[in-house]
């Protein structure tokens, strides 16, 4: 009887009901979307950032992160790599060498004057072309020319090597693909070494600060040039999912600490990025709270209006002998029914919207810049939080805000309220 009455009441005044439903559905939709947005965009930014360059986990010699020295090396990268391959959470790993050098460029076709006036200091990163490709998709960031390949320089000190320059560095050196480049560097045994390179490609990582002073040579080449033997400075690890990173870091750290190696997650070695991310996430949580609050206010407003509009009707019901408790239960039930309908409708809507946003993303204008890495697109992700948080908000608000006007309606004097409208 109560349910029937409430159900019929809902459809008695269609325009009013549609209005209330719209407000509640809108509130659900907005809250759901912003939560999916936040989760999705942050994990995609983190994955994008880490997959692009750093990896989610890195292994170094103890103390390397605080004081990167050419001597702080991982002496048996292959053994570490074999161990990493045996772990199910590790998608792929890649070894790297970091050092510095003086670079000087002679443009193609300027003869053999042999005087290199265009010189600059730069960080030199030694990468394994195939492994780096699998890990960070290095070739995708080559803007001119090609990626590094194996060359004679990988085995012979006197052979001409291949080098890839950061885009801004190539501008500073006035260098283009095909030009000759001389590198003067100091090796780990103290000797100074100079070597000839041909510029094979120009790379743009999206971080101008890095591209301004970074060049890349092959790992084998770097090991000869810097007299490092088999050693490397860093092993970057790519994992399948962000949620498993902390556990995996613990596992690797436990196994490698006896080799005096240090294992860190992106939260440590990309601390600046992590902190920026966390601060931003906090501020977005406040925004989402405000959105949910606004949606709740909308629901409160429409239900309040609905009750006030029907005071005459409640007066008649009371005059006919309806008990106050019945009226309260009826109004709250009506609100709840509308709440459930809104949640159902809102779920369909937000699923569609989230699915779309997880595929296409939204263009950021202006682009977001985290620690120098620029993000032009934000992508949403669908998770249970996108549904249960807004659902609880809508239904609880509907029930809570309807209670007060319902009580008021139930306790009005029948004669007075009938006369009022």
């Amino acid at each position: 009887m109560l349910l029937k009455l409430a159900w019929r009441n809902i459809f008695r005044q269609k325009r009013r009901t549609v209005l209330t439903l719209l407000t509640m559905t809108g509130g659900f939709f907005l809250s759901s979307l912003s939560i999916g947005w936040m989760n999705g965009s942050y994990s995609s930014i983190i994955m994008f950032f880490t997959n692009n360059r750093t990896g989610q986990i890195q292994v170094h010699r103890e103390g390397y992160l605080e004081d990167p020295s050419i001597y702080a090396t991982i002496s048996d990268p292959d053994a570490v790599g074999a161990f990493l391959d045996s772990l199910p959470g590790v998608r792929v790993w890649t070894p790297r060498i970091y050092s510095g050098a003086l670079l000087a460029v002679r443009q193609q076709g300027t003869g053999s004057g042999d005087v290199f006036s265009n010189s600059a200091a730069a960080a030199v990163i030694g990468i394994d072309p195939a492994m780096e490709e699998a890990a960070t998709n290095f070739s995708r960031r080559i803007v001119i020319g090609e990626v590094l390949t194996a060359s004679d320089a990988d085995t012979s000190y006197t052979a001409t090597g291949q080098i890839v320059l950061g885009k801004e560095l190539s501008i500073i050196l006035d260098a283009s693909v095909g030009d000759s480049l001389v590198m003067l560097s100091q090796a780990a045994d103290g000797s100074s070494a100079d070597r000839m390179y041909v510029i094979r490609g120009i790379v743009s990582t999206g971080n101008a600060d890095i591209d301004r002073n970074t060049c890349y040579i092959t790992l084998a080449d770097a090991q000869i040039l810097f007299a490092l033997g088999e050693k490397v400075h860093e092993i970057a690890i790519m994992t399948g999912s962000l949620s498993r990173v902390d556990d995996l870091t613990g596992t690797i750290s436990a196994a490698l600490s006896e080799k005096n190696l240090e294992t860190d997650s992106w939260k440590t070695f990309a601390r600046e990025f992590y902190n920026g991310m966390k601060a931003d996430e906090e501020s977005l949580k406040v925004t989402i709270f405000v959105i949910v609050l606004v949606a709740a206010m909308g629901v409160l407003n429409t239900i309040l209006m609905m009750v006030l509009e029907r005071r005459r009707e409640f007066g008649v019901m009371k005059a006919l002998g309806t008990r106050p408790g019945f009226i309260v239960r009826m109004i709250v039930l009506e609100a709840n029914i509308m709440g459930i309908i809104s949640v159902a409708a809102g779920s369909v809507l937000s699923t569609a919207a989230l699915l779309f946003l997880s595929k296409h993303g939204l263009k950021m204008d202006p682009p977001l810049d985290y620690g120098g890495t620029v993000f032009r697109e934000m992508i949403a992700s669908i998770s249970p939080e996108c549904y249960w948080i807004p659902a609880i908000c809508v239904i609880i608000t509907a029930a809570a805000v309807s209670l007060l006007p319902a009580l008021k309606a139930a306790h009005t004097k029948a004669a007075k309220s009938m006369r009022m409208v």
Binding site: L102, Q186, G190
Partner: protein, 254 residues
């Protein structure tokens, strides 16, 4: 550190008068520091011994200098570096790299960097300043700067003038009064922390001049690290062909 280049330039003006007085005229002493290794031109053969916690190596080299602004250094050994050469004209510096037969100008961003892996920077080699003109100076008795003070030694504190661009904020010299030969110099930063110590020893006569033929640079913040330069031969004011200090000479070798 200018004394490094002066040492590399290797030229001496004969000892100044004033010995025997307890504290000789300060201006004369500072002038004698400036002139210790300076001459119209010089040629020297020397070795540089570099010690670090990770490696130790010795380079031998020849060095030519003319006036205060031109220096040419060629590495003779070890084999990997043999033939490398540095030419400095004024504040510009060029390195010749024999493996790649190329000449590279050192960019200003690397002038503070190490020369050949030693504790001597490129800046030390190109610096043209003089103590007498670019520093203010006074005798000091502050033992926190000089350590225990010895008899027959004077201590001079040099403060760079505001127009002098250096990374230290004071230099303290210890000089033997008898022959105005420096014993050591200490470089301090603005917090009074020691940056590096340069010691002079093995005073010998070379081509008619009495000079310390061994100089050791010890950076204060790098434990177990030092660079020692030892002169084995020097000649002064013999008249050098100015074509020595040219990019052409840098590339053709000697």
């Amino acid at each position: 550190m200018r004394s490094v280049i002066l040492l590399l330039s290797m030229s001496v003006i004969p000892g100044l008068t004033g010995s025997g007085i307890c504290q000789p005229p300060l201006d004369d002493l500072v002038h004698s520091l400036d002139q210790l290794y300076r001459s119209d031109d010089s040629y020297a053969e020397m070795s540089m011994h570099i010690v670090t916690p990770h490696w130790e190596r010795t380079l031998t080299m020849q060095a030519w200098s003319a006036g205060t602004d031109r220096t040419f250094i060629r590495i003779l050994s070890p084999a990997r570096e043999a033939g490398m050469a540095s030419l400095r004209i004024g504040t510009e510096m060029w390195n010749y790299l024999p493996n790649t037969s190329s000449t590279v100008r050192i960019p200003s961003s690397m002038m503070a960097g190490s020369w050949m892996g030693s504790d001597i920077t490129n800046n030390d080699i190109v610096r043209e300043i003089t103590y007498a003109e670019d520093y203010t100076y006074s005798y000091t008795t502050d033992t926190t700067l000089t350590g225990d003070q010895a008899d027959g030694v004077v201590y001079i504190e040099l403060l760079p003038k505001s127009s002098t661009a250096v990374v230290w904020s004071s230099i303290v010299f210890a000089l033997r009064i008898a022959d105005t030969i420096p014993l050591w110099e200490k470089y301090y930063d603005s917090h009074g922390e020691l940056i590096k110590t340069v010691t002079y020893s093995n005073v010998q006569e070379m081509d008619g001049r009495t000079i310390p033929t061994q100089m050791q640079v010890i950076p204060a913040d790098k434990e177990g690290q030092s660079t020692t330069i030892i002169w084995s031969y020097a000649e002064f004011n013999r008249g050098l062909d100015s074509s020595i200090f040219s990019l052409r000479n840098l590339q053709t070798g000697d």
